[in-house]
């Protein structure tokens, strides 16, 4: 069979499609526009908090499916909708990590030589950038999952404390302290003060 996109599945399953369209807030066009806006940042988040591209791929699809299934939910704003998606994705990763922990404890890779003692500049050289990336990946793996999530949301995505609290299911008032603690820990690994 030769499938071409976009495929109108309404023709294949008229009853379910009709029932869904009646109840759903998010139609195909809206979903696709939302996906275009969020898929890459979500994948970036998932790949960096899991440290695994394949796991990120799976979690991405699962997150959108769960999000889509509850698309009858009314969101106050685009940010709220986006935070909801990130919260679903975060929970998927946490559940997956919990299941994996029961199976076995995965050791952390890499024992190669560490980092420089000098602070990073705003625009480092390409070689130094590659070094920093390795250091960062190693540092992220040393952090608690919630610290990784928090740092990524705060500094890579520029999320506010309220948004971080919403996504991670924490109290907004505690984010500042937790973030500072995570930042200090990451900085110790990045500056070579502590070797992973």
């Amino acid at each position: 069979m030769n499938l071409t996109f976009p495929l109108d599945l309404a023709q294949l399953m008229p009853e379910t499609s009709h029932a869904r369209d009646a109840a759903s807030v998010m139609d195909e066009e809206e979903f696709r526009a939302f996906y275009e806006r969020t898929a890459r940042p979500l994948w970036a988040y998932l790949s960096r908090i899991t440290g695994d591209r394949h796991e990120a791929d799976d979690a991405l699809q699962e997150a959108y499916y769960r999000f889509y299934r509850r698309s009858g939910v009314q969101y106050e704003s685009e940010a709220h909708r986006r935070n909801s998606l990130f919260r679903i994705a975060t929970n998927i990763v946490r559940d997956s990590a919990r299941r994996a922990k029961h199976r076995d404890d995965v050791p952390l890779q890499d024992e190669s030589e560490g980092s420089s003692d000098t602070p990073v500049s705003a625009t480092p050289q390409p070689e130094r950038q590659a070094e920093i990336r390795t250091d960062l990946q190693r540092a992220l793996q040393q952090l608690e999952p919630v610290q990784r999530e928090m740092l990524w949301l705060a500094y890579a995505q520029g999320a506010s404390h309220e948004e971080i609290a919403d996504i991670l299911g924490l109290r907004a008032i505690s984010i500042r302290t937790l973030l500072l603690r995570a930042r200090k820990k990451a900085a110790r690994f990045l500056t070579g003060e502590v070797r992973p």
Partner: protein, 143 residues
């Protein structure tokens, strides 16, 4: 301990440019140096991750979601059907017991007692029980 210029530094890092004055401040402020080390590295990693993100197209994702939704709906319908069948059987059994009451047990016992198993019949049943799996295994192997 944090510095009051952290927000300013974060904005500058996001823009990709920290002026001389701010750079001098960062060099002398432990909190800002720490922020620059972490946030700078994360911002750089974010750009790399966004560039390397190989996500499916929105059309593909939409199609996958609808297909999966359909499969889930079918599975849910099947589950409901099994539950309905089990409930029907239970109700039917309950009705039979309710109508026949104690007589039902006696009827079943009488029915079982009326079956006379002869030796040739037992042998035939035993042979069939042994032969059927062997025949099945041979058929599968040949296939």
């Amino acid at each position: 301990m944090t510095c009051h210029r952290e927000d300013e530094l974060l904005d500058a890092l996001a823009r990709g440019y920290t002026g001389d004055e701010l750079r001098e401040h960062v060099a002398s402020c432990a909190s800002c140096a720490e922020l620059q080390a972490v946030a700078g590295a994360l911002l750089n990693e974010h750009s790399v991750a966004i560039a390397e993100a190989a996500v499916p197209s929105s059309a593909t994702m939409w199609w996958r979601l609808r297909i999966r939704e359909r499969h889930d709906a079918e599975a849910a319908a099947r589950r409901s059907l099994y539950i309905g069948q089990a409930a029907t059987l239970l109700i039917a059994f309950g009705l039979v017991v309710a109508f026949f009451g104690n007589d039902f047990g006696q009827t079943v016992r009488a029915l079982v007692a009326s079956i006379h198993l002869s030796t040739p019949l037992l042998l035939a049943i035993a042979t069939w029980l042994v032969a059927a799996p062997v025949a099945g295994w041979v058929a599968i192997r040949q296939k």
